[in-house]
Symmetry: C2
Subunit: 423 residues, 2 copies
């Protein structure tokens, strides 16, 4: 890791140039201030994969030996599958490279052995992208909540199931229809078994239980039940019970055992789990000291998953030369600060009623170039202290403040206008 | 940092033994596998503070020199205020100690200078507890989302305001009443100005903008507007607009400036910000690549804040001897794995209707020691394929599976019983 400028470069080789791999390459190219340098891209049939937006210094190869024998500091594996991927990762670690992987099945199956090998080689293996895509839940459990003693993890870890269940709920359609539509839109694979039957989610749950609950367990030891028997009628019943239905992955450490399952479950509408829509992911971690902590966001997709991978690369680059305040730290900006967001606006007035009030206010707003969206007035109010509401179309808050200054001087105003943005 | 066992001890001195400080001490004592050792507790009138649950090796002192001249590796500052706290932190760093602090006003005002001093001394200063208590948002932005380019941060950062607004919303009470009740319950201070007027939240927003948006700004440059003009009528109007009202801290990086403000705002009921109840905190970070990521949890209180502090201590201990897989890593457990959570249960049947079905099912459930909670049946369904629902009181899923096995053999069952836990 040597570079020409103050901070040394960190050389990154990429195994796999599919959706996630090309997103990783894009971020590495577009972000110029990270001291990360992409040196190799490995893929089968690499000629068909080549793009023109990577610097010519990047070596494209379909020979894995080019990567494993290179001087790359970090190897990023986004090719998936168990073999030959496991061998390649072992060889990368053994040759003194750190590894970043998004491979949930591999990490669920042999994460501890790979971590042990990395430790022996004084290298790192990071796998933040293996669970919940762009949601930083692995680092959150491992570092952000390291001070707590977590005993329960509940999550929505499979975007395909969540999308299908959300669609049945929203449109009252049968399961089969929802699945077909998800497949058409690319939210479900042609063979959706891994997702629907919970095998994808239980690999992720095994990883979370290891990182958050410090329990070593095989994914096969976790019960996984399919969402395929769920139909529209179940959402009707669920709604009568104040609930909705989601595929929930849950693990809870008791005195003598680890409760763990991936299954469709009824969740109360007031739970954050109930409000996860479409392909999003959410994890709720519960600790002895800190109570419930929630992590949510995009659980899949090239860009969000690539964010998790690049975050891991940066973490390794930082740890490689010690201290969190060095490598990969973007320069601080010192821009002008302004409170003038452009939003819709809420103006609540309290007035002594008389004819012509709205006309007067509307004239001021119009003179400031502001459009009224709606006027609302509650019935049965006293004339001497009458609240009413004007909402404004999207405009700069500075304009609104100008208008309010004029309005507050008007003699019918009982108190100053209350102004809030509508987000 | 030397210890008797394999992993070296890391000596921790505590400045301040109030609610947060004593929670930090409690976690350090109760968690025995972290290689952290509490060596000093500083407080004014220390005799009145002494507790009997700390080991006798801990030195209690009201002389700050005892801490600053000690051989502690990490000094934890939870005494608050700007002075003499800033001097003490500078002296701790200058004498080769790392620092963990929960002091938002201090970090908002002179964080960059303190980080610079730490870097010069090859030490660390961590401040994860300064924003959103136990919610690991600082580490989430700094590490978990380091791979993204964030451009917007929105958050509910002040639990007092959120509690008061939630109460006005829920009970339709005037602002003054809600404030009085919050004060009675300890959710608001005798002088609540810092909270209500947004001064507390804007210090936190300045820190988040620095960490997440890489913008260096003074808290004073952020507009802060009070929630005190909000009244029950505003929640009625908001509700007509499909919204609720929250104190929102928001910062957004545009081409030429940073938009930033702390103010009451209308938020759409579908937004995660709308669903933050009581004293909880939530941060939504939006990035170019990863979209929206949400962090939520307990924003205040001794234990959650102490979790953030101990997590920071562990992060420093790890970085002090390199690599994330060493110091402070709890031993892995390998417990038995079971899917048998104790929950309420949802059993959905599809039957060919005839008299006596419910009696038959109820007999089986009763023989398994399971209590029925409710029976629900949709009207207007065909008799040959009739869906209906039985919910069960809380019991072990293993019992339910036993009962279902017997039920599925019954001749009136058109398809196997669908069983889901109710969470």
């Amino acid at each position: 890791m040597t570079g020409t400028s103050g901070a040394p470069n960190c050389k990154v080789a990429l195994i796999g140039f599919g959706t996630v791999g090309s997103s990783v390459a894009k971020i590495l190219c577009e972000r110029t201030n990270t001291h990360l340098r992409l040196t190799h891209v490995f893929n089968r049939n690499v000629v068909r994969k080549k793009v023109d937006w990577l610097p010519p210094s990047v070596q494209w190869t379909e020979n894995i030996e080019d990567v494993l024998s290179s001087d790359a500091d970090i190897v990023v594996e986004v090719i998936g599958g168990l073999q030959p991927t496991e061998d390649w990762i072992r060889r990368a670690l053994s040759s003194g490279k750190s590894v970043v992987t998004a491979n949930k099945q591999l990490i669920a199956r042999c994460g501890p052995e790979l971590i042990q090998l990395a430790r022996e080689m004084k290298q790192q293996i990071y796998y933040g992208a293996s669970v919940a895509g762009g949601v930083p839940v692995i680092s959150g459990l491992h570092e952000g909540l390291a001070g707590d003693e977590l005993f329960k993890i509940q999550g929505i870890l499979n975007g395909t199931c969540n999308y299908i269940l959300s669609q049945i709920e929203a449109n009252g359609i049968p399961f089969a229809t929802a699945l077909r539509e998800a497949q058409k839109l690319g939210f479900a694979e042609a063979d959706p078994t891994e997702d629907l039957d919970g095998l994808d989610a239980r690999a992720k749950l095994a990883i979370l239980a290891r990182v958050g609950l410090h329990c070593d367990l095989r994914p096969e030891s976790i019960l996984a039940r399919s969402i395929s028997p769920i139909d529209a009628v179940d959402f009707e019943y669920a709604s009568q019970l104040g609930c909705t239905i989601r595929q929930i992955s849950m693990a809870e450490l008791t005195k003598d055992k680890l409760l763990a399952a991936v299954q469709p479950a009824l969740v109360n509408l007031s739970s954050p789990l109930a409000r996860v829509e479409g392909p999003r992911n959410l994890v709720v971690a519960t600790g002895t000291y800190g109570g419930e902590t929630v992590f949510g966001g995009h659980g899949a997709g090239g860009h969000p998953t690539a964010v998790a991978i690049v975050s891991d690369i940066l973490a390794i680059a930082r740890s490689k030369h010690g201290g969190m305040n060095d490598a990969g730290k973007p320069a601080q900006k010192t821009p002008a600060v302004s409170p003038h967001f452009a939003t819709k606006h809420y103006l609540r007035f309290m007035v002594k009623d008389r004819p012509g009030i709205i006309a007067t206010l509307a004239t001021i707003l119009s003179a400031c170039g502001i459009n009224i969206d709606s006027v609302l007035q509650k019935p049965e109010c006293q004339k001497s202290q009458l609240p009413f509401l004007i909402t404004l179309e999207e405009c700069d808050a500075a304009l609104v403040e100008m208008a309010i200054e004029q309005m507050n001087d008007l003699d019918f105003m009982v108190q100053p206008c209350l102004h809030m943005p509508i987000l």
